[in-house]
Each structure stands twice: as structure tokens, then as C-alpha cells.
Amino acid sequence: MYSYYFKLALLSLRKTPLLSLLMVTMIAIGIGATMTTYTVSYMMSKDPIPSKSAQLFQVQLDSMDEIYGDGKILPYTITYQDTQALLESDIPKYQVALSAIQKKISHENNAHIIPKSLKVRTTTSDFFSMFETPFLYGSGWSKQDGKDAAQVAVLSKETNNWLFDGENSVGKTFRFGAETYQVIGVLDSWNPLPKFYGLPHMAYTQPHDLFIPFNTQIKNELFTEKLVSNACWHESTDDSFSAFLASECMWIIFWVELPDNQAHAKEQQSFGRFKNRIYNKLVPLKQYLIDEEVVSDDSKMAVWLAVLFLIVCLLNCMSLMIAKFHAKAGEVGLRRAVGASKQDIVKQFAIELSVVGVVGGLLGLLFAQLGLLAAKQTYSYLHSGLMQMNLQLLIGTVLLALISSLVFGLYPIIRASQMQPSSQLKSL
């Protein structure tokens, strides 16, 4: 019977092509606008590491004195001294200190490869295990390499493509400023969205180009002010790098992975130098994303506006549906006379609206893709993953169109099915 209704739906849509086109376009525009904004917002707020987001915590320490710190809102960076103390702890399964520098990178002997100034993530050896980075070749550096401040690096896939033409470059060397570094691993594509582990305001920028041990940065006294969030509430004693390290400047992000989140409550106070302070915090990853407003209110507001726009489109569509079904009163009367129940009429028109909804959804999907393409070109500095629909979103788009057209079509359909058949039989 449903194939019969489907055939009737196609016939009916063909009978009034302009009306059908208007309905489909109306749904498509609303769906397109909604899904464009929703995709960006959804991809922003996705759990970047679902397998272990409950076990990852950011360490926030109340290291400021009473004059500077209010004790409640803590900075998300910590000092070098605290970092050293935390790295000593054997409580967490993994612990990672993070910073970033910018450095000129070049090939050792191929002059055709023009040197580039790249963003370098400096971190500790646990980084790769903790954040489950996929490796194309090799692996991360060992704990010992980390301690020894070895001049080794893990390249991103893109950097390896640029510098070594995508070959297995493990063991090869390259110029890191004036120094020589050895490739120890090459990552496969790895673009967690949002880039939760770094600075919140850079959560949607492209990932860093290579990774080197944190201690190597320290040993070589490398520092790039613009790539870190450096808050100094107490002046360094002098301008030297060692004085900076010993200062109260907070510039390092610190993450820990704890096997379960109950154990940490008591152990929390054993972190850091300030055991007597109670505000030292381990902030769960998801809470951190909320606290730092990684998903901005603007993007949520845009989604709501787009949803309102969709509702306006659907209301317009609803009035067209009422007109369409009203024009079919004669047919409804006839079908009722020859044996169709009210239920049969509801089914017939629901299938017709489903066809409109699905076609509108597919066209809306196309509009949304165009919208995302335009957004990608306008915001080229943002992570391209933000403007890409995953499978759930693709299916969700069509489903949203289908369900919303049925919800808004419910009234016109029920109205049509309730028509007194005898009053319509003279009007066919």
C-alpha cells in the first residue's frame, strides 16, 4: 500500500509543480541555514577524545598570593617550578607539560625546499600516549630522551610531506634554527576538534607542525611569547632565562590522566608547592572546555537564529500545505466514498509530505554544503574540520527535514482527513 501512496505522492507533486517547488525550496533554505550554523557549533562542541575524556584533567594551581589571586578563578597555566614538581609525581598514569615556540625549519641539504617558520609544540614524552596520537612512522621520544633534552622531533604528516616528500623520515635529520634535529616519528593525520590540549583561544586553529621535548626547549632557552599565555604576577629577579624559569610566571599547560576520577580527590592536595591552599584544581577536560568558553555563545546564538528562520520557513510551507490539501478536497471525498478510512488519507498525505521533506532535506544538504564552503573560504584560518559534516550530521539533516515537515504538516493532514466526504463529492 505504501508504494501506492508513494506513486500517488509523485503524481500529486507533478500536478502542481510550482507549489511543490516552493515547498521543497522553503524547507531546503531553512534546513540549509540551520545545518550550516549547527555543523560549526556541533563540531566545536564535540568530545575531542571520547575514549578517555573522563580521565583527562587539567592541573590548575593557586600559586598567586592573596593580593593577586582571588582563589576561585585559577589560570590554566602554571609555573616552571610547579611543572618540575608535578613531573616528579607518580600518581597520574600519564602527565604532560605543554608549551609552544616558533622556529625556522629547513632541509639539511636540499636548497629547493624553502625554509619556513613553523609552530613547534614542546611537550613531555607522555603526550603521544595520553592523547592517543596516531603514528605513520616511528614513535614518540622516550622518557630518557625527554630527560636528556635530546634534539629529536615528531613531525606532523603535513610537515613530513613538505620536508621529506612524505617518505619514512625516521632517523633523518633537518635544520631546526641553527641546530640539527633528528626525526623520531611522523604522525598520521591528527586534528582533534577542538584542539583541547592547547590554549583555549587557539582551539580551532590548525594543529602545530612538529613536536620536540619540553626539556629541549628549556635547555636551548627557547621561548616565543605570542604562542603562550604568560601571566607573571611577580617580576623575575633578572632578565636571564634561568631567572624566568625560577619566577612566578605561569606559561605552561599541564594535563594528567588518572585511571578513575575518584582517586584524585584526596591526592589533589599532594600536587604542587601549596598543599595548604584548597583551590588547587584538577579540571576535567569537558569542564575545562566549558570554563574556557571554547564553544562561544555567538555560535550558539547563531544556531538559535537559524532554527527560528527554519520555523518561519516551515510555517510558510505549512500554509502552502493547507492550500494544497484544500485543493484536493474533492479527491479526499472520492477516496473516502470508495472505501478509504481517515487513516488511509492521513497515510497518503503523510507519504506525500515525506517526499517533500526528504527532497527538501537533500536540497537543504546541498545548500548547507555551499554554506560551509563559503564559511571555509571566509574563515580560512580556522580548522577546516569545523566546516565538515560527519555522517551523523548528513543523516541528521535529512531526518530533520523529514520530521519537521511532518510535524508542521500534521495540522493540514488531519484537517484534510476530517473533511466530510459527502460535502466534497460535487467539487472534483
Partner: protein, 229 residues
């Protein structure tokens, strides 16, 4: 086959009650051909709609093929209508975007016959009305008389107990009307009851029995037959 006892119909609009049909009794046996005559607005169509389960009666009893239809749900009433009643309308009521085959198929679809049975019944009905070769034509390609034949084919394809015809020749010239009347008589001769509403006394006289409705009063006396004759 059809039994109405003390049946009446009143419409209520803005607290004004209009008595469309005053209480009446009527029994029609299987195989009868009954004409219903009366001036416009007298209640003929209301009677036909009640008989066809398209409208509810206000009071009294209506039994069709031994079943009290007042108790039926919409679904059951629709199924019963589909099985027991065939409709023929003055303006044919064919769906223009469906060809003849699909127009006749419509009631059979709701009967949930399988494809083969539907096909057999459609072809047989088309043969019976003399349009066997035109199943793929569309209603607009036919004359008025031919369209009414298709409507009759649609009505008989489900082999109903009764055909309710509302002015079936009202839109046709006399020659076409004659053809339709003779077709209805043939169908009646094969055992299907026919209740036909008409303005035309000459056609009414061709029925075995005549019922008159005047100002909502239905009379079923043998005198009417004589008057018309």
C-alpha cells in the same frame, strides 16, 4: 438488504435545527432497482449520503446487509462501504491524472486485493462497460458518456451489493443517458441492487420501484408509481 426504520436526519447550525429528513421507514430487497425522485433541496442527496455511509443519521435504525451501521468505527465503516457499496456521481468524479485502469483500481486498493485479482476485476469491469481497449486512456480523452461508464466500472469492480447513483445521467445528452440507463439495468439484472436519485421522471419510471422525497418527507407508496406513469 437495506433496512431503515424510523430514520431521520437533522442539521444543527448556529443553534438552528433544520430537519433534512423526517422519520421514515424503508426496506429495499437484494436485486431491487429503486428510483428516488423529488425536487431540488428536498433531501434526496442527504438520503443517498446516509445510505452510502458518507453521513451519519441523527436518529433511527439503519441496517445494511443485516448489520447496524451506527455502531461502526470510521475504519470499519470505510471497509464496509468499500465492500458493499458502489457510487456513481453526476459529475463522474474520476481523477484526471490517473488513467482508466488506475481510476478503477482505486477502490480495489483499499480492499487490499492482490495485484492479479485487481487486474482481473479491472479488465472485467472495463469489458462490462464496453471500454476494454481503453484502459490506458485518461478521463479527459473520453466523452461524458464514456467517463460515466468508467465511473460505473469503478463502482462494479468491487462487486458491491448496491450501487448508489446520484443523477448518473444529469450531465449527459439523451442518447448517452439511454446507454447509461441500459448499462445500469444490465448490472441490476445480474443481481446488484441499484438506488438511483433522479430528476427525470421518464428514467425513474424504468426502475422497479419509485420512492419520492418532498420537503424531507419520504414516501414509498405504490401510488407514486402510477402518478409517474
Amino acid at each position: 438488504m437495506l433496512k431503515m426504520k424510523n430514520l431521520s436526519k437533522a442539521f444543527l447550525t448556529d443553534a438552528i435545527k433544520t430537519q433534512a429528513l423526517h422519520p421514515f421507514d424503508l426496506t429495499i430487497e437484494q436485486g431491487e432497482f429503486v428510483s428516488v425522485i423529488g425536487p431540488s433541496g428536498s433531501g434526496k442527496t442527504t438520503f443517498l449520503n446516509i445510505a452510502g455511509l458518507l453521513e451519519e443519521h441523527s436518529d433511527g435504525l439503519y441496517e445494511l446487509d443485516g448489520q447496524d451501521v451506527a455502531q461502526f468505527s470510521d475504519k470499519k465503516k470505510s471497509a464496509y462501504r468499500n465492500e458493499k457499496i458502489g457510487f456513481v456521481f453526476q459529475s463522474f468524479n474520476l481523477i484526471p491524472e490517473l488513467n482508466l485502469y488506475d481510476n478503477i483500481d482505486m477502490p480495489l486498493r483499499y480492499r487490499k486485493f492482490n495485484r492479479d485479482e485487481r487486474h482481473e476485476r479491472i479488465i472485467q469491469a472495463l469489458e462490462q462497460v464496453g471500454l476494454a481497449g481503453r484502459k490506458d486512456h485518461y478521463p479527459t480523452q473520453l466523452s461524458g458518456g464514456q467517463q460515466q461508464r468508467v465511473a460505473i466500472a469503478r463502482a462494479i469492480a468491487g462487486t458491491p451489493s448496491v450501487i448508489l447513483a446520484d443523477e448518473p445521467t444529469g450531465n449527459l445528452d439523451s442518447k448517452m443517458a439511454e446507454g447509461i440507463m441500459s448499462l445500469l439495468k444490465d448490472i441490476n439484472a445480474a443481481g446488484t441492487s441499484i438506488i438511483m436519485v433522479t430528476h427525470d421522471n421518464e428514467q425513474a419510471a424504468q426502475a422497479q420501484r419509485i420512492v419520492q422525497i418532498k420537503d424531507g418527507h419520504l414516501s414509498d407508496s405504490p401510488n407514486i408509481q402510477k402518478e409517474i406513469a
